[in-house]
Amino acid sequence: MEPLAFVEVLGRHNDVLARHAVYRWPARIGRGYDMDVILDDRFVAARHLQIEPAADGRFALTDLQSLNGISLPPSDKRMSAAEVGPDDVVRLGQTQLRVRAPSYAVRAERPLRATAVYRRPVAFAIMAAVLLGLAFWNSWVVATHEEERAFLAFSIVLIFVAAGIWVSIWALVSRTVGGRSNFSGHGFVACAGLTALALWDTLVEYLSFGFDAHWLKHFGTLGAAAIFAYMVYRHLRLNSRAVRSRLGIAAMIVSVTAYGVGTGFQIASDSARQGVQRYSQALKAPLFLMVSGVSPEAFVAEGETLKRKVDAMARAEP
């Protein structure tokens, strides 16, 4: 006998969990053992839903007076009857169903491709090498004394250890949730993210020096938060096939929290170090300087704003 239609039980991401063939109309669906499709959901009635063919290859659904009724997600509105096509989902109890006729046309098959480039160990190795190169170059620029070199070598080791822990945690989550650890993929994302953060940071520093613009620093922090959010988003995508927008939101929440906590620590440590002079000490090579500078009188005259600040501080805390 040829099936008349297929009733598909769907998971949360519209993946097919089970597929039942239907051989006669009307098809009845419920928890009872005398149904055409038997569901195992405590919130589904023994006799819950009836399906009949309708015009144009669509199907007519009728609620068989169940307690919890039927609805068409994403709407929660309870319906007594509905008409659905091959891509519509109906919800009964906690189960989601879809009905398709054998004539449903599927898309052509996709060509089998090798694993995406960035997931491969080679990509991870290259990115790690790039990051290491950046770290060494930075330490060469910064260290003008021999003693400093040892200290910087140690800090490079620390960075890589921290990155290793970060990647391992993501790989572990990947393996638990999806069965594959994706270690190389996570490694690539982490190294690429750190490299992007380092390059962005440097760019912002040079720009804010070159144009003598302090506000660029705040802009830079926002950019860094965005880069971090994107990094988290790519990590999540390696794990899960959930809807992308949801992943995006999750990534943004994580990074906003991380940056919020970081800023909080910064503020707390700042107020503890009040005896310290705080100004931007960043100095770069003269060829990066784009502005011609203000006059000395203008600079000294602006000191009035500092006087006002400390006067207010003295008034607030006598």
Partner: protein, 431 residues
């Protein structure tokens, strides 16, 4: 029989006359002088103790001496500074040689010359007379005080004129003045006071300083008219005196155009007057890829305010950084290190100052651009006084830079602004 007695008596007389010759008796005469002065003045010299709350162990000790009727005693400001600024926390006590002791009230202070007049019930202790006529170099003096808990001590010394090093007028005295003797009198051979112990040179031996008695006379005449309430705090007076001191110092610094000197390829502010001391130094280690030539000046005008606060100094320092084979990038990083903010490691006492407020900007100097930073903080318990720090780092060459730093303590903001402007306008790169 009678002629033998006569010969023996004559011989005894001659012997006595011989033994009485001046040459043989030099040594005892000097110490006799010191002893005589000691006997003459000691009943007027008291130990002053600074007590915390009601405890009997002193937080600090010094010396003072009776100078006027009604129990007026003269000592150093720094001996009684704690009580002057925190009257509720500290108590002052005097102890006279006879054992008589009692509480002291502060009547008047002179922060700049480090003197204070206090009052206690000294009974019939005799005020010491002041000397009016000037002394000559080489004249003898006797300093009295309580050094390091050794009891009342007299120290013989030599008057060596006005100290050339100090911004304030001080007598250079060659004698061993030790901690605890602060505030004690220094008398001439007639027992008249010509100076007050105030300090000794940290790096020297027997190089001590005295406050000339004319400042004591001045303070005493002010004190005679003053009647401050018990437990008054002297912050306002101290603040006013520092402001007056600042006006005088900054006036001296601003009186003439700023002198300028050549330092390598740069012209920078130079030593302004005799009251500034300058020094130079160099870092030129063989292994290092850069050299630093440093030059600094400071005014010798540091005022002690209390145990955690000295103020009143103006300092500036220039450093020429020269790269040997650092590239432009690494040289810039070296510059960053020298341009770093200060204040780390210092104890921040929020009772004395607010925190710093700072800003930085690129400035066009003569011959070069530079990054400058300015930091300001305000004194909390003293009105109208600020600390101002100015930093300059030139950005004209990938391998040569001048870093200059100006620090003004305890100044009015207007004077600080005026001097800062002149300072910055005096910097030039002579290409």
């Amino acid at each position: 029989m009678r002629s033998v007695h006569l010969i023996v008596r004559t011989a005894a007389l001659i012997a006595a006359a011989l033994l009485g010759l001046p040459g043989a008796a030099q040594e005892p005469e000097v110490s006799a002088q010191a002893r005589a002065l000691y006997e003459q003045t000691r009943d007027s010299v008291a130990q002053i103790r600074v007590l915390l709350g009601s405890s009997d162990t002193p937080a600090a000790t010094g010396t003072g001496f009776v100078v006027g009727p009604g129990g007026l005693i003269l000592t150093n400001y720094h001996v009684v500074a704690d009580k002057a600024l925190e009257p509720e926390t500290y108590q002052l006590e005097f102890v006279l040689p006879g054992g008589r002791r009692g509480p002291l009230q502060i009547v008047a202070v002179d922060v700049v010359d480090d003197l204070a007049v206090v009052r206690g019930d000294t009974g019939d202790a005799r005020p010491l007379p002041f000397r009016d006529a000037p002394l000559s170099k080489g004249d003898k003096g006797f300093s009295l005080g309580h050094p390091l808990n050794q009891g009342l001590t007299v120290v013989e010394g030599i008057y060596n004129g006005r100290s050339e090093e100090q911004y304030y007028e001080r007598i250079h005295y060659t004698g061993a003045i030790n901690p605890g003797m602060s505030g004690g009198p220094v008398v001439d051979i007639g027992g008249r006071v010509f100076g007050v112990n105030v300090a000794n040179h940290r790096r020297g031996q027997l190089v001590s300083f005295l406050v000339p008695v004319k400042f004591a006379k001045r303070l005493l005449s002010r004190a005679a008219a003053a009647r401050p309430p018990q437990g008054a705090d002297f912050r306002e007076q101290v603040g006013a005196q520092i402001r007056a001191h600042d006006a005088e110092l900054m006036g001296a610094l601003l009186k003439a155009p700023l002198p300028v000197q050549k330092l390598g390829e740069f012209s920078v502010p130079a030593k302004i007057g005799d009251f500034m001391q300058c020094g130079a130094g160099t870092e030129r280690e063989a292994g290092k890829p850069y050299t630093v030539d440093a030059h600094q000046c400071y005014t010798l005008s540091s005022l002690y305010i209390d145990r955690r606060l000295n103020t009143g100094m103006v300092t500036f320092r220039h450093r020429i950084l020269r790269s040997k084979d650092l590239g432009a990038l690494r040289f810039a990083h070296l510059q960053e290190r020298y341009f770093a903010p200060g204040g780390y490691g210092e104890v921040f006492d929020r009772r004395h100052h607010t925190g710093y407020a700072c800003r930085d900007e690129i400035v066009a100097l003569q011959g070069t651009r530079a990054k400058m930073a300015m930091c300001v903080r305000r004194y909390k318990r003293l009105e109208g006084l600020y600390d101002v720090v100015l930093k300059v780092a030139t950005l004209g060459d990938p391998g040569l830079a001048l870093q200059s730093e100006l620090e003004m303590e305890g100044v009015s903001f207007e004077a600080a602004t005026t001097f800062s402007r002149r300072y910055v306008e005096a910097i030039r790169w002579n290409r």
